[in-house]
Symmetry: C4
Subunit: 271 residues, 4 copies
Amino acid sequence: MTHKPLVLLVAAAGLLATAPSPSPAQPAGKPPAAPADPKAKTIADVVTANHILAELGVVDGFGHVSIRDPNDPNKFYLARSMAPELVTSADVLEHDLDGNSTAPASTKLYLERFIHAEIYRARPDVNAIVHCHAPSLIPFAATGIPLKPLYHMSSFLGPGVPVFEIHKAANGATDMLVKTPELGKALAKTLGAHPAALMRGHGAVIVGRDVQAAVFRSVYTEMNARLQSQAMALGAKVIYLDADEAKKSEETNSALVGRSWELWLRKVRDK
Amino acid sequence: MTHKPLVLLVAAAGLLATAPSPSPAQPAGKPPAAPADPKAKTIADVVTANHILAELGVVDGFGHVSIRDPNDPNKFYLARSMAPELVTSADVLEHDLDGNSTAPASTKLYLERFIHAEIYRARPDVNAIVHCHAPSLIPFAATGIPLKPLYHMSSFLGPGVPVFEIHKAANGATDMLVKTPELGKALAKTLGAHPAALMRGHGAVIVGRDVQAAVFRSVYTEMNARLQSQAMALGAKVIYLDADEAKKSEETNSALVGRSWELWLRKVRDK
Amino acid sequence: MTHKPLVLLVAAAGLLATAPSPSPAQPAGKPPAAPADPKAKTIADVVTANHILAELGVVDGFGHVSIRDPNDPNKFYLARSMAPELVTSADVLEHDLDGNSTAPASTKLYLERFIHAEIYRARPDVNAIVHCHAPSLIPFAATGIPLKPLYHMSSFLGPGVPVFEIHKAANGATDMLVKTPELGKALAKTLGAHPAALMRGHGAVIVGRDVQAAVFRSVYTEMNARLQSQAMALGAKVIYLDADEAKKSEETNSALVGRSWELWLRKVRDK
Amino acid sequence: MTHKPLVLLVAAAGLLATAPSPSPAQPAGKPPAAPADPKAKTIADVVTANHILAELGVVDGFGHVSIRDPNDPNKFYLARSMAPELVTSADVLEHDLDGNSTAPASTKLYLERFIHAEIYRARPDVNAIVHCHAPSLIPFAATGIPLKPLYHMSSFLGPGVPVFEIHKAANGATDMLVKTPELGKALAKTLGAHPAALMRGHGAVIVGRDVQAAVFRSVYTEMNARLQSQAMALGAKVIYLDADEAKKSEETNSALVGRSWELWLRKVRDK
């Protein structure tokens, strides 16, 4: 599949989410024209990403996903505080890197929007961020056992996955949430140049160059954790991808991310 | 069961739109007015809670959930003896703290209604109770390994989860059911001021200040057990939330319980 | 719930399976009159039991369930050789205790119908039999670790679950199938008076006084195996129901089997 | 995708009724005549196999299945590069044993089509091939613990499942993909006469005499891995089928493969 139709499909998803009477019988592959407005497309992608992550069990009533504003690197789009599966385009708000939103003051924002703000500030290469409590990641976050890629779909984990210890970052007990700019900066520092970081007693943050990559990585980080714990339980030495293999595989896979996105988009659209 | 009663019940719960053609784009959080009658609302909530717990696998053909009567602390609402997923408003009966119901004598009541009656008697702070056989809890109940919170969603478990040993309470072998006021009192005593108690060879009881909290806690007690056993299997030291973290986290989370309820309500309404 | 409505519902399921234009909008709880013919009711129950076991994952493309003819203890009803989920009333055939069927010679019968025939011959108390390859049972069948009840829903396992070793019964290697009267007799001998027997390298057979009991026991034998392996993995001593508890619990539970059946019937009817 | 093409494809597969209003009571096993054109039937089977493997979780966005051209043993049918669940007949392309396709040059082909080409070249007995990343197989591929049949449904694994080490085959680090004829030949050499081979850090390849056998084997290889790891975790000696049992069982089972196919076909058709 070429890149162009994929973009069109994504745009179509955004339109479906907002059109008053979407036709379920409309043939896939013949989406309506993409919205000219990059803002509308970005908001549609935030909605789709939320629905995909919920459909695949990466998020439940909690967790969130954001996309950097393509027109202004100091802004990003994130839903208001609500369950990912219920997000619609009307719920997606522009935030700045201080965590402020242009929404009315009565709008409840995610307490942890600083995760997004501070990672966007620290990582110019990152244009989409997922925060989740994916079940299989919690045991690794609680034990500190390093996540490592045991198959090529998760080769992006080759550089390693650091664990954020909020107790140390805050120099004391917290409510576990990254709800200040300072904690956001500390998390971004732990993340460094890595693709993901676990958060002890909490969950994980996963980043990507675009929303398709961030969602893909979230799904396969969760999968790798599940399979790694199963492999460890077999009681024999686990052979992980070595650094060269991980690097080469990630280079190849980065061109295939759209294939998964197309599938998952279809799943949430057809629900 | 036709779909109509369910729609009406959801409407009675006062949380979502009841218009014949609800618009998916309607912002969540702007529900129509709740029914004026607190009794009708409570019964609707009992129905919804039963359906949510079944949808999420916390209960199967067995298990039950009750809500204390908002008008009379010595009464509570509980379904007649039946599978949770099939409960409708017509099945929800008022019970008193001796386990009596105003229903005709031919109505079959839950054998274990004394779980609810005696905990309401002992715990004025509790207004909703779930009894379940959630699969992941059974192994902990059978081994006595303490459930402890390994992530913030289950921080309410910080005070610990005692295990009720019915053989000791009854001073001999029973059919494992808490089907007398005396056994109910013994279970309430084991529960003490805790958020939940496991029942050896049987299941668990989970309590909350309201039905949303009791359902939320049931879901995340089940999840914590699953993740704790996975973390223990990794073979390294598991770091649990410390007492301060659990307390602070629970204070924050208690304001977020409605977000999950809204999601789960939508799931059972849309089935 | 009283016993009568349940019977009516079961009958209704049979009618639904055969009526040319079943109305999905027909209110539950108001089933049409049960068929006067016990044979029609038994065949309808065989169909329903097949569908329930498939819905709950106890059987996949393989496995079967039979019911003894209420009019002739030397006959039983069993589908022709096919996937349980696809069985309709037209596929259910009368078999005798030698494994013969009245169907045309071209009809393909289950190779293992002798499991049913010989257990009905040996166990006058048994009126329904399930043979399955439920996944969680295979590891126990392969290791010989005894299945024991760790919670009250599986208290019927109290008398123990023997393991059938076909290599020993046949005095040599077989294709693992119980496809002769001799192997059927050997399996019935291993089963003895127990509620179930595992079959090494193969699966299990579970019996009941009626079809509701046999299905209930199949579901909770599978569940117990899953939970027992999880409890064993926790690394502490597992406390199982003692003999008295199991006996008392089974006496109580046997009156509650209909509650599960009603739920499962609704699930397969509403699909 | 509209539903119509799927219905037509199923009809082309020649296994089920194609009347506009199929009667659920129609006995299975009496399909209408298969399409006269073997090419159309083969393409329809490729589509169905892709959908079944996705439905059963053997493949996700990645993985593929091919069928050898019944008219020309040097050709095979395989989809263009896309997610299996989305494949339609228009996406299925003829490939030759050098991995060339007759499709326009702009069509993106699977990078790993050489898996299929080289196995068809090396194994005249093989007429269908599945490549997948089924989750339960990854831990075995990463540890090298031998997959062995612990129940009769996977008796075809009796001859053993070798593990392909691409690092050794390529004499260095790769991107883990079998994307050259040379790597395809090396994989075919590792596979030898076996029914399947695991691929370290990647997944597996499973072969069959026809597409029904290849799909059946894929499903039960995945299942066996899951059950074998569970059995190993129980901590007792696992008894596997011995060589004679595996051989006899496989002979019997090979005649029953169609029963599963019929069930799975119905599942993907009814979605």
